[in-house]
């Protein structure tokens, strides 16, 4: 590392001369410019080196890829459709909106693309147990699912607050045979679940494979989670060429840790005419301080959960509490590759507030008969802002990262309805 963690963009210019350089990240040590890396306690270094070796050996192995592709096709149900939301587009009165239907995947979100991939790695490792952290429960469900299929023991850490607001997913995980362990420490949400999963891993590293659910964590996780989700963007790119007849003008995806966004964006990174928008959780509004939008709020750099990135923290470096209606975006950091993409300006990061998100949730449900996850509704909320500023012959692809069944209870409570 040649640049100081406190200097601003000057150091990044040397890491990235053009967007093509973004396809060659991370470097051999897992750095995305000044971000990423492997900031872990020594006990885990060995396991991470091992995982890196295993993955790099398999990454271009035709048999491994064939196995991954087979599972995605036959078990997940890929490719997912690219759906023209004609009625909603017309209502918004601007660009045409296309939805990348990750909600139609087995288990209901993009998360399964990654857990299928990591399950293959777990199988190669021979370890009998997997663990995961989860916020909305989608990654937990996707992990419990692959564990059931492979006959692996599965423990999922989930913040106690999220256990409360995502009850349906908690029960789904238990039906699948996983143990869900509520985490009472800290803010009782996703970051605390990840702390606890790391503590478990450091204790049981000999027989446990940690399936991280987003493009964060220590190297090689940001790399492999991005690779496994990039199928979303590869499909969307080909589908756009076929169905629209050209590449879209803009891509929109929500950003928690950032895996569905990177999955969609990555295969388009060199398509300079395709604008990209990452939508973070604005909570009560970025200006209120009660949000989960490290990039849109210009949070400082920091180190958490094994990587350097932009991180919401106070002046003393204590990690900030976050607020969002959506458990899956309620995280103070963001994947390191997004931090770099923000610096080089390849993606514009914005926030959508809880009220805008609920409005988008209801609108898509009523106009298109598609009930989005609250996470995905953040992307929809920004599409709602963006579309009217564009012409009807322009096209926006929105990553509909998951379906909303899990959120029915949350929305009902907001409506004052008790089941």
């Amino acid at each position: 590392m040649t640049d100081s963690p406190v200097t601003e963009t000057s150091a990044i210019g040397s890491a990235v001369a053009d967007y093509g350089d973004l396809t060659r990240m991370p470097d051999a040590r897992g750095h995305f410019g000044p971000y990423g890396g492997r900031f872990v306690s020594e006990t885990l270094s060995f396991a991470l080196e091992d995982l890196e070796k295993t993955y790099l050996a398999l990454r271009d192995d035709p048999d491994f890829r064939a196995e991954f592709d087979y599972d995605l096709a036959q078990y997940v149900g890929r490719p997912s459709p690219l759906y023209h939301a004609a009625r909603w587009s017309e209502k918004l009165g601007g660009a045409q909106i296309w939805l990348k239907r990750e909600d139609l995947n087995h288990t209901g979100a993009h998360k399964v693309n990654n857990t299928i991939g990591q399950a293959l790695l777990a199988k190669k490792s021979g370890k009998p147990r997997v663990i995961a952290e989860t916020g909305a429960g989608q990654h937990g469900v996707a992990t419990a699912t692959v564990a059931a299929r492979l006959g692996l023991k599965c423990d999922v850490y989930m913040g106690a607050e999220d256990v409360e607001r995502q009850k349906v997913n908690v029960y789904r995980m238990r039906l699948l045979g996983a143990d869900v362990i509520p985490v009472e420490s800290g803010s009782r949400t996703l970051k605390d679940a990840m702390n606890e999963a790391l503590r478990d891993w450091v204790t049981n590293v000999d027989d446990t494979f940690y399936i991280i659910g987003t493009v964060a964590g220590p190297h090689p996780y940001p790399l492999l989670v991005r690779d496994f989700n990039a199928v979303v963007g590869r499909e969307a790119r080909a589908q756009s060429l076929e169905q629209i007849g050209r590449l879209p003008d803009a891509l929109v995806a929500c950003v928690g840790g950032g895996s569905n966004a990177l999955g969609l964006f990555y295969p388009f990174v060199e398509d300079v005419d395709v604008r990209m928008y990452g939508v973070e959780a604005g909570g009560d509004g970025v200006e209120t301080g009660r949000h989960a939008a490290p990039l849109a709020s210009d949070a400082p750099r920091g180190v958490l959960h094994g990587n350097r990135t932009y991180l919401m923290s106070d002046e003393g470096g204590q990690v900030a509490d976050t607020h969002s209606v959506s458990a899956g975006l309620d995280y103070p950091g963001v994947g390191p590759e997004h931090a770099l993409w923000k610096d080089v300006g390849r993606v514009q990061y914005v926030a959508a507030n809880d009220t805008q998100v609920l409005e988008a949730f209801r609108e898509l449900t009523r106009l298109e008969g598609i009930m989005p996850a609250l996470e995905s509704a953040h992307a929809l909320a920004h599409a709602k802002v963006l579309a009217p500023t564009m012409r009807p012959d322009q096209h926006i692809v929105v990553n509909l990262s998951g379906r909303g069944d899990k959120d029915i209870q949350t929305v009902a409570e907001i409506d004052g309805i008790q089941f």
Binding site: T2, S41, T43, E49, S313, G316, G317, Q318
Partner: protein
């Protein structure tokens, strides 16, 4: 010579094992910390590890997690630790002090400012749990130029080649983590520790200190027979937790726990 090196040189002459207590600064509230440090020295501490409280102590078990929460609730931040060490130094110019914690508070302050202020306050070494040598190529030299030792962890899972790298970068002493897990876990197994320390002796002349799972006089003595020093954390922090509502009882309790260990190590 840095106070840490000096202290270990003296201990070696005396053929004694270093006793290294860890407490979280600001636990249960900041005004007590300097008094606790003096009490620890009176009870036989050779080096003090002063924990920087952090909101997300990923390598720590519940005991030190709660210590961090208590300290943070009372507003303890990194810059307060500099004041504490400076105050400690007014009465104690001999006992080495090592700051131990996680990287984010240091990143937020800035590496330069941290190194300058820590050294000016009288800190002697720095152990950043989530910063292995591979990520320390900027921070390490900065610490060195300010006369601060970079102390690194070695774990039971550390490969031979990594151990060599760590030995090459480490200063002051090496901190061998006696078990896979978080702080406050199972008891250390002295035989197992001895087996892991033997190859390290061939790689380095640095003192080898062992932490995690040292709970009482017996475990300290057993591990002390094979190591150059023992680190005790959760056993002390437990006593701070028990006395949190009656802080006057804490210093005597710390002295009792540490005094027992000193006695066991020296006999």
């Amino acid at each position: 010579m840095n106070r840490i090196d000096q202290r270990f040189a003296t201990l070696k002459e005396q053929r004694r094992t270093a006793l290294i207590p860890y407490i979280t600064a600001g636990d249960p509230s900041p005004e007590h910390t300097v008094g606790f440090m003096h009490a620890l020295v009176e009870a036989g501490a050779d080096v003090i590890e002063l924990g920087v409280p952090f909101s997300d102590p990923m390598a720590d078990g519940p005991v030190i997690q709660k210590a961090c929460e208590r300290a943070l609730r009372h507003g303890t931040r990194l810059h307060h630790l500099f004041d504490m060490v400076r105050e400690f130094r007014q009465a104690d110019t001999q006992t080495p002090v090592v700051l131990m914690g996680y990287l984010n508070p240091i990143e937020r302050l800035g590496y330069d400012a941290f190194a300058e202020r820590a050294s000016e306050a009288g800190v002697d070494g720095v152990l950043v749990v989530d910063m292995p040598p591979e990520e320390a190529d900027e921070f390490g030299p900065l610490l060195k130029s300010h006369g601060l030792a970079s102390i690194f962890l070695i774990a039971p899972t550390t490969s031979r080649s990594r151990a060599a790298t760590i030995c090459a970068h480490g200063e002051g002493y090496l901190y061998y983590v006696s078990l896979k897990g978080v702080t406050g876990g199972a008891a250390a197994n002295a035989e197992d520790v001895a087996e892991h320390l033997a190859p390290l002796r061939e790689m380095t002349t640095l003192p080898l200190c062992v932490g995690f799972g040292i709970r009482d006089g017996a475990s300290a003595a057993a591990v002390g027979r094979v190591a150059d020093g023992v680190v005790v954390g959760s056993a002390l922090v437990n006593r701070i937790a028990e006395g949190a509502d009656h802080p006057a009882t804490i210093a005597p309790a710390l002295k009792e726990v540490l005094g027992d260990m000193r006695h066991a190590l020296d006999s």
